[in-house]
């Protein structure tokens, strides 16, 4: 049993409000054999400048510090790749640093940028991320990813990350899903939803119009996970620019407030020790006392079925912002759907549903843009860009893409980014005839979860329109 001290549970405080002024993304794809990484990063930063009607040079003139998220140096055979990109973006001699926290790299990069503005060190900071996973043969890529597990205790076992990750899915599937066909169907619905939403996104490279049966009949990767339950492996770049209030309003007349919380847990899943469930604002003491009775085998927390890092990141972020119940207080979320089952686990970790009830969020229809049961808008639509399953997972860029997508909804500019015919043509993609706007009408607050593999690092970013804050400041 481990316990946290009051000092460790202190709610993070920023010395000044931080604003998200603009965001940008490159096209995402499985491979870019004829494009250098710097070209993708320049595409993302140029898009961020376009978004606030500036030239890249004008936007760059505000930036004081740059944080770069790039997880896997060894994929690109380039150490200090951050310095290469910083130079190519023409941002020397500004202070810069690289950030690496596995799948959470994008979120962690934003975490650093926000803190540098909140501290007063910089008035404006760039958070830009990318990943290049197409430049090694797949089996060598699998080995390189497995090197993100413990090199002595896990990596030699098969050199395949799925083996270290999917044991968590198995445990959740058997204990909370009770290995039921109905739960398997719920998992599949997430894949159908996210790949379907990706069809409306010109940046996405995994759009598919599929059925639950297609998912259930797809190739087994590591039972119960099948090919269509799994996220994409991608290349691309995304960025965000954060500022203090004065600078934000110099860049745009409509910046958003931004906060972020971060959590961590053991890299080696095996090392998770038993503990009491830390409670979120919408949970009550004693509420989980009978969890082990309802779900035999669920008495070990976090065990392999929950992500403590996600819970802690949400605990900090909700308490910083005044979010009590995410369904009531937020309008749209982007979650780290690396696998359908980990998406369900995250619903519980961040309090969208209580532990044990994750499937209810999908089954209620509230995770959809339009609730398929009530035909009304979903109460809290998730992953409308397609998520990691349908849009992309270019590791260092993913968390930043999610923040950008939430921003587009709150700015009410989602259509402008995803609809134009020219953009579909520029990316060489065919716009579907049934293209539909997924703009969440009236969205004022949103959340993005950036998550590393087995849950070693997680960030929880919250965006709000400045006129719709929950907590008085």
């Amino acid at each position: 049993m481990i316990k946290f001290s009051d000092k460790q549970l202190k709610i993070p405080k920023m010395s000044k409000p931080v604003y998200l002024a603009t965001v940008g993304m490159s096209k995402f794809d499985r491979a870019f054999p004829e494009t250098r990484t710097e070209e993708l990063c320049i595409q993302a930063l140029t898009a961020a400048a376009d978004f606030v009607n500036m030239t890249p040079a004008e936007l760059k003139s505000f930036i004081h510090t740059a944080y770069y998220g790039h997880f896997a140096d060894h994929f690109g055979d380039q150490l200090l790749g951050e310095a290469v990109i910083h130079d190519r973006l023409g941002l020397d001699p500004l202070g810069t640093i690289g950030v690496k926290t596995g799948g959470a790299t994008g979120g962690s990069t934003m975490w650093e940028a926000i803190k540098t503005v909140a501290s007063g060190y910089s008035d404006c900071a760039l958070a830009l991320g990318w990943e290049r996973m197409d430049e090694v043969p797949t089996d060598e890529g699998n080995h390189l990813i497995s090197a993100a597990a413990d090199k002595d205790w896990e990596t030699p076992l098969g050199h395949i990350y799925t083996g270290y990750y999917a044991v968590m899915a198995q445990r959740y599937w058997q204990i909370f899903g009770k290995a039921e066909d109905s739960f398997r169907k719920t998992m599949a619905e997430i894949a159908v939803k996210n790949r379907g939403y990706a069809r409306m996104n010109p940046y996405a490279h995994g759009p598919m119009k599929i059925t639950v049966e297609d998912v259930i009949n797809s190739t087994v990767i590591a039972y119960p996970l099948r090919a269509l339950d799994c996220c994409l492996m991608s290349v691309g770049s995304a960025c965000g620019v954060v500022c203090d209030e004065k600078t934000a309003y110099e860049i745009t007349d409509n910046p958003l407030r931004i906060w972020i919380g971060a959590g961590s847990h053991t890299l080696r899943v095996a090392d998770r020790r038993n503990m009491k469930i830390p409670l979120l604002p919408n949970e009550k003491p004693g509420q989980y006392d009978n969890l082990g009775k309802r779900f035999p085998g669920a008495d070990r927390y976090p065990g392999f079925s929950s992500f403590l890092a996600a819970r802690v990141a949400a605990y900090y972020a909700y308490n910083m912002t005044g979010v009590v119940d995410p369904i009531d207080d937020l309008d749209v979320v982007e979650l780290h759907d690396a696998f359908t089952i980990s998406d369900i686990q995250t619903y519980e970790d961040i309090g969208i549903t209580p532990y044990g009830d994750g499937r209810n969020y999908i089954e209620s229809g509230d995770a959809y843009h339009t609730n398929p049961i009530t035909k009304k808008p979903g109460k809290l639509p998730s992953n409308l860009c397609g998520g990691l399953i349908g849009c992309m997972h270019a590791v260092g860029a993913t968390g930043l893409m999610q923040i950008a997508e939430i921003g587009y909804h709150i700015w009410n500019r989602w259509d402008e980014i995803h609809e134009p015919e020219e953009k579909w043509k520029e990316f060489g993609r065919e716009k579907p005839k049934d293209w539909t706007s997924l703009q969440v009408k009236g969205a004022k607050r949103g959340l993005a979860i950036s998550h590393a593999g087995v849950g070693s690092h997680v960030t929880c970013t919250i965006l709000m329109h400045p006129n719709h804050l929950i907590k008085e400041e």
């Binding site: 098969g158 990350y161 445990r171 590591a222 095996a270 998770r272």
Partner: protein, 199 residues
């Protein structure tokens, strides 16, 4: 092509320093990458054949013990630690709470009597450099009195949550890596064990 015995790289420690001997990489020229549709140059390959050296440090006793048929764990014996008595497997050198060096203990017999599967996954895929036979049956094992869970692989039979298993060790031609430890269902006979493994 595999390296010959003379070409393999070996490392020993002499006077407190690593002494590499043999070939650690074979140099291979890069190759151009052309787009076959346009005939234009797009890039080059960069072949690399490298050997990493890394130290087990205070965990060396764990890996050496596997080759002798022993499963070592560690226990915090610090009177001042709130979590005194916690047993760790995977073997940790220092207590994660008080950061004092822990005591290495022989956990083999206890493991034989209490190991059971906490979770598992069967995968037909592996990454480059894998030497385990496919499909790999990954298992996570819970032991009585241990505060953590161990990852390993099942060498005989099918995994199932709560199934009782016992450790086996590669005592003949050990690799001195975590692959020298595997598990089999309780009741498995010696003749069913993979080559080189003993109870």
């Amino acid at each position: 092509m595999p390296k010959t015995e003379e070409e393999k790289g070996f490392v020993s420690i002499i006077n407190g320093r690593y002494k590499p001997k043999g070939k650690f990489h074979i140099i291979e020229a890069n190759q151009p990458i052309f787009n076959e549709d346009t005939g234009k140059l797009a890039g080059v390959t960069n072949p690399r054949d490298m050997t990493y050296i890394h130290s087990y440090g205070g965990e060396a006793v764990f890996f050496e013990s596997l080759s002798k048929g022993k499963l070592m764990a560690t226990r915090c014996d610090n009177d001042k630690c709130k979590f005194k008595g916690s047993i760790y497997l995977p073997f940790r050198i220092y207590c994660p709470d008080c950061l004092q060096k822990m005591t290495a203990i022989d956990f083999t017999e206890k493991a034989k009597k209490s190991a059971k599967i906490y979770s598992f996954i069967i995968t037909h895929r592996s990454g480059a450099f894998n030497t385990l036979k496919l499909p790999i049956k990954f298992i996570n094992i819970e032991f009585d009195d241990v505060v953590t869970i161990l990852m390993s692989y099942l060498s005989v039979g099918d995994p199932e949550i709560e199934k009782r298993v016992v450790p086996i060790f590669k005592t003949k031609n050990p690799t001195y890596s975590i692959m020298d430890l595997s598990f089999v269902p309780e009741g498995t006979s010696e003749s069913e064990l993979p080559e080189g493994f003993t109870f």
